[in-house]
Symmetry: C2
Subunit: 462 residues, 2 copies
């Protein structure tokens, strides 16, 4: 006998939690489609040579390689070279490969969404997953891509998180050119040095302002006090309204060309956010946002839940200049965001924002009398025809047991049709949630429950 | 520069094909939920020790093992023992592990659906996939499970394939006890020998009746001519109506206990099929169906498309006596079916039953004049609010280019709002599918298109 268990670092849910998670994915997908993004799915494994274009990095140390039994046997006798296949570790590299491979069959700007699991060969620890969902959208241009597309991302974020019903949130915006220009203005012109300062600033929320300032004037950076002061004042800017955001940008002055470009881009993005009807309470400029990745070149985004800052960013992304330089000579600039749904789901549950769902089964048709099974099946058929998810008790077990099953499974309605009901051509409905019971004509059952269920759905969040 | 490509044996689709595939999965999922099945997802990899309980079989030769970079480095110096993780090769073993692991948290009978990809380390060849979707449902009982649940499976198959719109199909039913009883009556009583005969019979559609009969009277089996004749007559039975199915069962007589049990079970299943409203044209008994797997013990199913017999079974399954004997002492009988969606999708395309979908994007809001971008965004916001998928041209490129994009992307409606339209507070709508153009008041746009789109959806199949 083998102990049934999964490997650490993976998410496996009981059905009612899986339903809650699935609803979250459905909301994300529905909104991605609403904004005109097209579905793409890529294989879980890529050729290692294609996936691992940049060798020796953090990424490659975490990759999972895949080998069939045969390949494994051969490898044992071989030189220990890299296996042929590896699991994707994000959705960005597969997107780059996909766009380069299918370039001539795609219409640009190419708008795709992708909701799939990704894999990291990490040491298992709390909050770190070896397998987790990413939900990405990107717009990819051929040769050029207007900065206006950068304004679509926060509109999608707004639609998704509003429908998820996770309370107030703020989409925080910044621009890497603005950051670079600002640092150039302070004499921190060299790219590598800027990157190091940006990386420090990225730790602001975790380490606090004092610790970051101390590092900046300390031996590693050796910045003058007044320069450190200006940096610290700059990175603590958070706008509190649309007008304030524009004023904060104006206050930066024209400065150098890079700064001016960054300011102009961010101003355009914010203007288009307003034009899309995103409420000004839900976005802000935040000059400390740099995103750790060197990858981003313009607009950058993070999204935080106002009542739960400890969760950190629940949706991030930004603008990049060239998606697929490893695979094609075509210049493919893009902008995108990503929601790490597995981590988000756990965090929302821990924060008490999300709870176990009711069942996806709306109705259980109980069975009081073996002779009535055909009636039960017919009732279920009518319910299903009306778009109601229904299951049937196939055996006339004790009624208490049937109710116990429905209760444990989280099913809201139990429908009964016994001798008494048959005589009057009605069904008895027990609403286990409202703890009430009513009768309805057999022919009206589906219509009646349809109304109840739609009311419930209209009221529920995720 | 690295050539962008995928490994052979995987399915990767262009967006419009992905949309068609996604709709197929959505239909399957919706119908599984309609019949009260609950979602389960399991990790892509299982612990090898847990996954590979039966060693040395066909399965293990095809499994993909997974190793992180670190584990791979260690393995190179080690004894070459089996890697810790392996990719699932079906959804049945993960289900068994899941039910055994979470037994005390589940309500029985446990009804689950699972739609995920599975992996086989096969040599790549036409029609063989290394990665493919399986869409499974199973009902698992604790200790016992009424044969009545066997009748739910064909009802679900009927609902799924009706909505998929793949033309006429037949759900073929048989029962392993009926088969075993019949062979016992012919003196073929030994289990292993029965299994060999059943395996031959399973090849009936591929090899033809003459070849199978020749094998049965040949040196491997050595059956008498009259025994072979009775087998051949038996396995060519196909009922052509509900009454005929019952008559075919009656004609088998009572025979031995096993035969009688099988006949009684199949009779009950067929009776309940009728009670569920499945039309009698859509199911038949077929005594040749055995399913290759020794795993099944009672009812077995196959589903064929009437106009495309060459495709073979598009949905199969059956009843088994004990799901998880490797993991728990609890007796867990079950019944289930599986749709191999990836293979099915390719076959339906090859047979011309399924074609590339229109875009999931319903409307493109064109841009004739840079100054009207805010209007475009507002129009899109209203469309999205009405549940319409819309994208916006963010730059006022040449109109011909915008139309070219919409056409290539398969978007049905292009909406234009220029100076002329603004003056009259209308929008121009071009229906690229119907090749017609009309104007509508700006405030009525969403309502008008909603009606058009719902009509289209009501008419479309997948």
């Amino acid at each position: 006998m083998i102990k049934p268990r999964t490997t650490p670092g993976v998410m496996e849910l009981l059905p009612r939690d899986q339903i809650a998670f699935q609803r979250m994915l459905d909301v994300i997908r529905r909104n991605y489609e609403r904004f005109g993004f097209l579905p793409v799915e890529t294989p879980v494994f890529e050729l290692s040579e294609v996936l691992l274009t940049k060798t020796g990095g953090e990424t490659e140390r975490q990759v999972y390689f895949v080998q069939s039994t045969g390949a494994l046997a051969n490898a044992a006798e071989s030189d220990g070279s890299q296996p042929e296949l590896a699991l994707r570790f994000d959705l960005t590299v597969p997107l780059a490969r996909y766009v380069a491979q299918h370039e001539h069959d795609l219409a640009f700007p190419f708008r795709r969404y992708q909701i799939q699991r990704v894999y990291r060969g990490e040491r298992a620890q709390r909050g770190r997953f070896r397998e987790f969902y990413q939900c990405d959208i990107d717009v990819i241009g051929k040769d050029t891509l207007s900065v206006r597309h950068d304004a679509e991302m926060p509109a999608v974020i707004h639609a998704v998180f509003s429908e998820l019903g996770v309370g107030e949130f703020t989409i925080q915006l910044n621009n890497r050119k603005l950051l670079r220009g600002f640092f150039e203005g302070l004499g921190i012109a060299e790219g590598e040095r800027q990157a190091l300062v940006l990386r420090e600033i990225d730790k602001l929320d975790k380490r606090g302002a004092d610790a970051v300032r101390a590092t900046l004037v300390g031996p590693d950076f050796g910045l003058a006090d007044n320069v450190a002061d200006r940096i610290m004042a700059f990175v603590q800017v958070r706008s509190n309204s649309h007008a304030d955001a524009l004023a904060r940008l104006d206050a930066l002055g024209s400065g150098n060309t890079t700064l001016a470009e960054g300011v102009a881009e961010l101003r355009e993005v914010i203007g288009l956010l307003k034009a899309q009807g995103v409420p000004e309470t839900d976005y802000a400029v935040n000059f400390s946002i740099a995103r750790g990745l060197d990858y981003y070149t313009g607009t950058v985004y993070e999204t935080t839940l106002d009542a739960h800052p400890q969760i950190g960013s629940v949706c991030s992304g930004g603008r990049y200049e060239n998606l697929a330089s490893s695979y094609t000579k075509s210049r493919l600039p893009g902008v995108g965001i990503s929601i790490g749904a597995t981590r988000l789901f756990f965090q929302l549950r821990e924060a008490g924002i999300l709870s176990t769902a009711e069942s996806s089964v709306d109705v259980m048709v109980g069975l009081m009398d073996e002779a009535r099974l055909a009636d039960s099946l017919d009732i279920a058929r009518q319910l299903r025809g009306a778009g109601i998810n229904a299951e049937v008790q196939m055996e006339a077990k004790k009624l208490a047991k049937q109710f116990q099953y429905a209760d444990k499974a989280g099913i809201r309605f139990v429908v009964l049709y016994g001798e008494d009901e048959a005589a009057r051509n009605v069904v008895t409905v027990k609403d286990l949630r409202a703890k009430e019971q009513f009768e309805v004509a057999r022919d009206d059952l589906a219509r009646t429950l349809r109304v109840e269920i739609e009311q419930q759905r209209a009221m529920g969040g995720v």
